[in-house]
């Protein structure tokens, strides 16, 4: 059970932190202001409260260590209520009125698309720290979340080798689900497998009787579940009670909404997820991160991949500003273009790709056991976000500010 | 005299309940006519059929020389039929003036709307009440207001469903005068009424409806003396 803290407290905590940490000798330029737009209420709150906390943790650590280039970090936090309109209102506010240097914003892809035109209009800089369907080629955006090529090029071949070549995809019927399903289809075919079924579920559907039968009617060896939202998550319980019994593969569960903690075992048993971070990861860096996190937020229900991404993003930004010697966006992009902006954090070493401004990841294969504990049968290091760059997005040369998909790639140069 | 309304073989049943059982009825222009009958005789249903609120199963309604059987309510009103309901059908939250404006704004006798409204305020004795919300008028005043509104569409035929229900004797008498006034302006009047004194005051001829059919028709004296009519009223009273 989560217990949400009111944002006001978060806001004040951020401000207070800046004040307290401001006591040591900071440079004269004043604080670096960081806008944080995350959903602290509404549908997505369960997965996003922790992102705010991760940013607060990073801000505290940075300030304790003397700030960014001697300047303290100050957070400007707004609750976007899982409402796209609030993103539009508040993105305008942080860029125009609060005049922040950088923004950390957005959970759903819809929210990112809602605020992206505004970031472009004011030539702001925004970090999107979410795992998503990929394809954003925009100079004003830096994406630290994992993208399909990173999660599926690892997950699908491994699953096929382990369980067989017949794949059934069950995906939410919107951009993320459709594009991810496209990736799955492509990778299955490249590896000589067969798609025995593909089904798209409208958002908000909670009854899966027919779907479960459809799956049972095929010879599927495993099911790729790309389901999103609380309503669709009812699938696992219903499939488990109907004893479907097939292994499941996903890029979206566990690492984000910690379903293995929320659902009653064994409904998620035999689920395999590729994620770039979850709190169960057993490395010293991860354990240390979890410890520090819980020291500051003892009640945190779960530290998910987005929390790690947000924490990493703060540190990457610190590094780029310090190397550029300024918060000027062009200077920061020049640093990024050097191609060696990396950070060895809780999830291992990660680097920003200058062409797409996406991030490389260590990809962990997390397996949910019968008692919903997690084991890691496989780890892939340094998986690059290769697709955008290969498809023709090169932000060091031009800025189309567009989102591409495998079926509508960048126009040929 | 020409016939303004002619009804032929009008039939309507709801399931097993026959509310109009082949009614033949006609009304000459300029008449003042009353429709009486015991409860459930089909008087209100007959009005609804005339107004187009019920579609008849069979029969025709001819008004002012043309067949209106297939027309919708508002189209019949525009041809010149108007109605005042038993329960005052006024716009309670609107002022008396607005009530009259809505009724008159489409039809005026060549004078401005405000002049028309003034005239109707005089007619209904509601001078000084023009800004009062209609809902707080006395019951009698509401009835008069609705009569005035019903006149607003410049009807040739005015249907009145128990216009004096709930009125004091004084108000009833005044209503009778009002109706005579309207009739003298050339409006044919057909009223459903229970109060025989009032029927005597206004009607020249009376039709008795019973079980959805015309039972008798004649002058008021003929009807009062009609043995069958007494029987059905007494019979109804026994129920």
């Amino acid at each position: 059970m989560t217990r949400n803290r009111p944002t006001l407290a978060g806001l004040m905590a951020g401000a207070a932190m800046a004040l307290v940490a401001g006591a040591p000798a900071f440079a004269q330029e004043g604080p670096i202001r960081i806008g944080v737009l995350e959903d602290q209420s509404g549908d997505f709150a369960a997965a996003t409260m922790v992102k705010v906390h991760a940013i607060e943790l990073a801000a505290k650590e940075i300030n304790d260590a003397g700030g960014i280039d001697g300047r303290p970090v100050e957070l400007v936090v707004y609750d976007t209520q899982s409402d796209n309109r609030r993103y539009q209102e508040f993105m305008r506010r942080v860029l125009q009125s609060d005049k922040v240097d950088v923004v950390f914003a957005g959970f759903s892809s819809a929210s990112r698309e809602a605020y992206r035109p505004i970031v472009n209009q004011f030539d702001g800089l925004a970090f999107y720290n979410n795992q998503y369907e990929g394809g954003v080629c925009d100079n004003n955006m830096i994406v630290t979340g994992a993208v399909p090529e990173q999660q599926f090029s690892t997950l699908i071949p491994w699953m096929m080798e382990e369980y067989g070549p017949n794949v059934y995809t069950l995906a939410a019927d919107y951009n993320f689900g459709q594009i991810s399903a496209e990736w799955v289809r492509q990778i299955v075919e490249e590896n000589g497998g067969t798609m025995v079924g593909e089904e798209f579920i409208p958002l908000g559907v909670s009854q899966f009787g027919q779907t479960i039968q459809n799956i049972q009617a095929t010879e599927a060896d495993f099911v790729v579940t790309l389901l999103v939202g609380a309503a669709q998550a009812s699938y696992y319980e219903q499939a488990s009670s109907a004893s479907v019994g097939l292994p499941m593969a996903s890029s979206v569960n566990v690492g984000q909404g910690y379903e293995h903690k929320r659902f009653t075992p064994p409904s998620l048993a035999n689920m395999f997820v590729t994620t770039n971070y979850i709190e169960e990861i057993d490395t010293p860096a991860s354990k240390d991160f979890v410890e520090r996190f819980h020291a500051m937020f003892p009640d945190e229900p779960y530290i998910n991949q987005e929390a790690a991404n947000s924490y990493i993003a703060m540190n990457l930004y610190k590094q780029m500003v310090e190397r550029a010697g300024t918060t000027d966006h062009d200077a920061i992009r020049a640093v990024l273009a050097e191609g060696d902006v990396c950070f060895d954090g809780p999830s291992g070493n990660v680097c920003l790709d200058p062409k797409s401004q996406h991030m490389s990841h260590t990809i962990y294969l997390a397996k949910v056991n019968d008692d919903h504990s997690i084991s890691f049968p496989k780890v892939w290091e340094d998986i690059k976000p290769y697709w955008l760059g290969e498809a023709g997005c090169d932000l060091t040369k031009n800025d189309p500010s567009a989102q591409y998909t495998p079926s509508s790639p960048p126009p040929a140069q | 005299m020409t016939e303004i309304l002619k009804v032929h073989g009008l039939r309507k049943a709801f399931g097993g309940v026959v509310v109009a059982n082949g009614i033949d009825f006609s009304l000459s222009a300029g008449a003042m006519h009353c429709l009486i009958g015991p409860n459930g005789a089909g008087k209100s249903s007959f009005f609804r059929l005339l107004l187009g609120e019920h579609t008849p199963d069979a029969g025709t309604i001819t008004f002012d020389g043309s067949d209106i059987t297939g027309l919708r309510s508002f189209q019949r009103i525009r041809r010149g039929i108007s109605v005042k309901f038993q329960v005052p059908g006024i716009f309670k939250a609107l002022s008396v003036r607005q009530n009259l404006e809505v009724a008159f704004q489409e039809h005026r006798h060549g004078q401005s709307l405000s002049a028309t409204v003034r005239e109707m305020l005089d007619f209904t004795d509601l001078r000084g009440e023009d800004k009062t919300p209609a809902g707080i008028l006395s019951h009698g005043q509401q009835q008069w207001l609705e009569i005035a509104m019903a006149v607003g569409v410049e009807p040739k035929l005015l249907l009145l469903d128990e216009p004096t229900a709930g009125m004091s004797p004084d108000e009833t008498r005044k209503t009778g005068e009002m109706l005579h006034d309207l009739n003298s302006r050339g409006i044919t009047i057909l009223a459903v009424e229970h109060d025989m004194a009032f029927v005597e005051q206004i009607a020249r001829r009376v039709t008795v409806l019973h079980f959805g059919s015309i039972f008798a028709e004649g002058t008021i004296a003929e009807i009062i003396d009609h043995p069958g009519v007494q029987e059905i009223y007494l019979g109804a009273a026994d129920d």
Partner: protein, 290 residues
């Protein structure tokens, strides 16, 4: 065998959808049919029932008792809401829509703040059975039985009990009932409470099969509204056949064209039914049988 398997599969899907529609609409139908109030907080009463059921079940109560507790608590909450809010709005049906929507906002967000964004589920009991090589959840067969039981129970309650007779009299002729010494205020309170309790029951019955979140009521609300509207004001004449027809449409469309068409098909059906049969199925059925 293959034939038997596919017939069973079809029946199971139909029954599953039918049960969902009947169980989720019963509370709404009682409140709308008996009182003419459109209760937009219906989903939140469902959520209330589900949360109480889950808490009680995890507190050690056997599931059937936990579900009953959920229904009773939702019913009690419903009676309080009726007393404080709904009672003042019987003359203003449009305003009661607004008020119940306000209640729904407060309930959803209040639960989010107090209990957090998710609650741990309780797991589906009873396991599965194997029919012709495919496995089916047994609990969902129980749900189908519950739906039939619910219809029967409501029929008995409203047509063969003192409460039912008085309730129907009160709703049809409130002044008359009042004159005959019926405490009409209490009847309205009880009827609304019954509707809320039925919503709570729906929440309790489906709690083991769903993700528990404050907004979970929303997944019921469209289906229940559609069923009630298609059924018309008289729930006994209308709701059961409406649920059957809608289940057929939804299960059919879902099976052949996928979930999207199942969803859209329901909404289009409701628009068409309102257009063709303004009184709903019950109005139409009554009109032809008289």
């Amino acid at each position: 065998m293959a034939l038997f398997q596919s017939v069973f599969a079809m029946l199971y899907q139909f029954g599953d959808t039918f049960a969902f529609l009947v169980i989720s609409c019963a509370g709404l139908a009682v409140i709308f049919g008996m009182m003419g109030v459109i209760n937009l907080a219906h989903g939140e009463f469902i959520m209330c029932g589900a949360y109480v059921t889950a808490s009680a079940a995890r507190g050690g109560l056997p599931l059937p008792l936990a579900i009953l507790t959920g229904a009773l608590v939702a019913g009690a909450v419903g009676m309080v809401v009726e007393r404080l809010v709904i009672r003042h709005l019987y003359q203003r049906p449009l305003d009661s829509i607004i008020a119940t929507w306000g209640i729904s906002l407060i309930a959803t967000q209040g639960v989010l703040i107090v209990l957090g964004s998710t609650m741990q589920g309780i797991g589906t009991p009873l396991g599965s059975i194997d029919v012709g090589g495919r496995s089916y959840s047994l609990y969902r067969l129980v749900l189908m039985a519950c739906a039939l039981g619910l219809l029967g129970g409501l029929y008995l309650l409203f047509y063969h009990s003192r409460f039912g007779v008085i309730a129907r009299a009160t709703i049809q002729k409130p002044q008359m009932a009042y004159a005959l010494g019926v405490n009409t205020g209490r009847m309205y309170g009880l009827t609304f409470g019954l509707g809320a309790a039925l919503a709570g029951l729906a929440g309790g019955l489906y709690a083991p099969t769903m993700t528990m979140v404050p907004t979970m009521g929303a997944t019921f609300i469209v289906e229940s509204f559609v069923t009630v509207v298609v059924g018309g004001a008289d729930i006994f004449v209308g709701a059961a056949p409406a649920a059957a027809i809608l289940a057929l449409i939804k299960a059919g469309l879902t099976a052949w064209y996928g979930q999207l068409f199942g969803q859209i098909g329901l909404l289009v059906t409701v628009i068409l039914v309102i257009r063709i049969l303004p009184g709903g199925l019950s109005g139409w059925l009554k009109g032809t049988t008289r």
